[in-house]
Symmetry: C2
Subunit: 316 residues, 2 copies
Amino acid sequence: MKDKFYQYILQLQNQITSKLEEVDGVAKFREDIWERPEGGGGRTRVIENGNVIEKGGVNISAVHGKLPDSMQKLFNVGEADFFACGLSLVIHPKNPMAPTVHANWRYFEMYDTSTEFSTGSRKVINSWFGGGQDLTPYYLFEEDAIHFHQTCKTACDKHNLEFYPKYKKQCDNYFWNAHRNEARGLGGLFFDYCKATDDSSDSEQAKHMKMEDWYNFVTEVGNSFLEAYVPILEKRKNLPFTEAQRTWQEIRRGRYVEFNLVHDKGTLFGLKTNGRIESILMSLPPNVQWVYDHHPEVGSEEEKLIKVLKNPIDWV
Amino acid sequence: MKDKFYQYILQLQNQITSKLEEVDGVAKFREDIWERPEGGGGRTRVIENGNVIEKGGVNISAVHGKLPDSMQKLFNVGEADFFACGLSLVIHPKNPMAPTVHANWRYFEMYDTSTEFSTGSRKVINSWFGGGQDLTPYYLFEEDAIHFHQTCKTACDKHNLEFYPKYKKQCDNYFWNAHRNEARGLGGLFFDYCKATDDSSDSEQAKHMKMEDWYNFVTEVGNSFLEAYVPILEKRKNLPFTEAQRTWQEIRRGRYVEFNLVHDKGTLFGLKTNGRIESILMSLPPNVQWVYDHHPEVGSEEEKLIKVLKNPIDWV
């Protein structure tokens, strides 16, 4: 499964970066191959100062080795070995009318430590998929929110009718900027610990999911990404905007930074376990402002966005 | 003691904001008085878009009530009441040749819960002072670093010759941006849990310090702040700079954000215990950039700064 999923994210990275370069029309992704001293590495692709994309990263990594202490605590296990691979992306468009998008699809395996990793014959004691995709606009276009969520729902519904409502809600909960009492964005999907049936599953239907079924589900979502995002980007990338709207975008990007550095488990985990910093922090926006006690005008488009972020909506 | 120290920070806030307005010459501090629902409140003063200061805050607060669970854990105590007051300031100058500065002086009391706070006759079970001041330049002027540290040392030496080396080292350790493997800035002083003699003190001389002595020390440092910073600001505020130097300043400000949101205990504590968000986050710089994998040119002024941040220096 790990080789199959790794092959999948390799080709998905190619597919996504090709399409985004096409949409941008000018900038190209720069590629950095890196190695993790403790085992594994990654292929980071970053695009900056494009015609459409101000900054973005579409990164894959596959790492393995001894499970760090912090992860032993997180998973409530003792010493173990692990393998993890995934694709993470964040795209920050230049135009404030175009939304930022984030997506991630990942696979994790844990092994008992009684055999050597290099032999390839390790006993898998646990494995699961995780991931999701979510949209963070600076101005609210309801049709964009509906399109993004509808695409997520269509991908989910092919596998289990309970998935979309469940993972949509988990997304709203996870990307909650608690200290601001508002959502990071308009949500989408967030799922984790997707594994073969066990008794702790809270869904009758999900009990029938084998790892192969989860692979099919996760890759279905991965395959839906470009369809979910690119039509929105195309529609908004050339809209006119004012200096004040650009300022609003930069202030809102500040909230994105706050979420990623204060609350995002993945980012903090990476920073505190000696991950490749530049690959992790590619998610941070290019130009950001913090203005003291900023509030949008009553009745403005900016206020309309805030209202929706404070009370997440069911878009489909 | 709490009333005496509160009176001190009230007048110190006035003194510092007056002087900084004089140096800026154009902008004035805006004042926000706020109340904490659980007890106490603060007087926040923020300056923005000045001639010299791009953004800065000089805030005082005095809060009291039931010790939050998170603080019970931090201090390893059970239920208790507390009082805390302090002054916190961060100044981000516009000119990249002028350094950012941070300072904080604070006092904390804990009480047993068997009497009512309102009676004023609570039994103090523990109390201490904390604080410090530190400098974060974007370009290295060694004479500025020496002046700042010499002023810190002069203030310390009047009280105990061990204080400057000890608190200088603690400052370098505290403001360490671990995920970047570099200091936030050039350091200064950082001290905490300064209280009347007990057996756990590691210094023979500090054993003779009474709370009154600590008050005299902390206010000596507070009184040294303007002398430590203003001459530097005056000297650098009108130096010419290029667009590239401004970009470097904004990229380095990103590191300041990273430290404050990922590592700073005070900021995280405030964010996670329902503090006044806008007063806490006044510390974040006004305009910030994140550029993927940015490295200064070999032999450049920018690289000279980084080298010093990676290996903190004894300036005096």
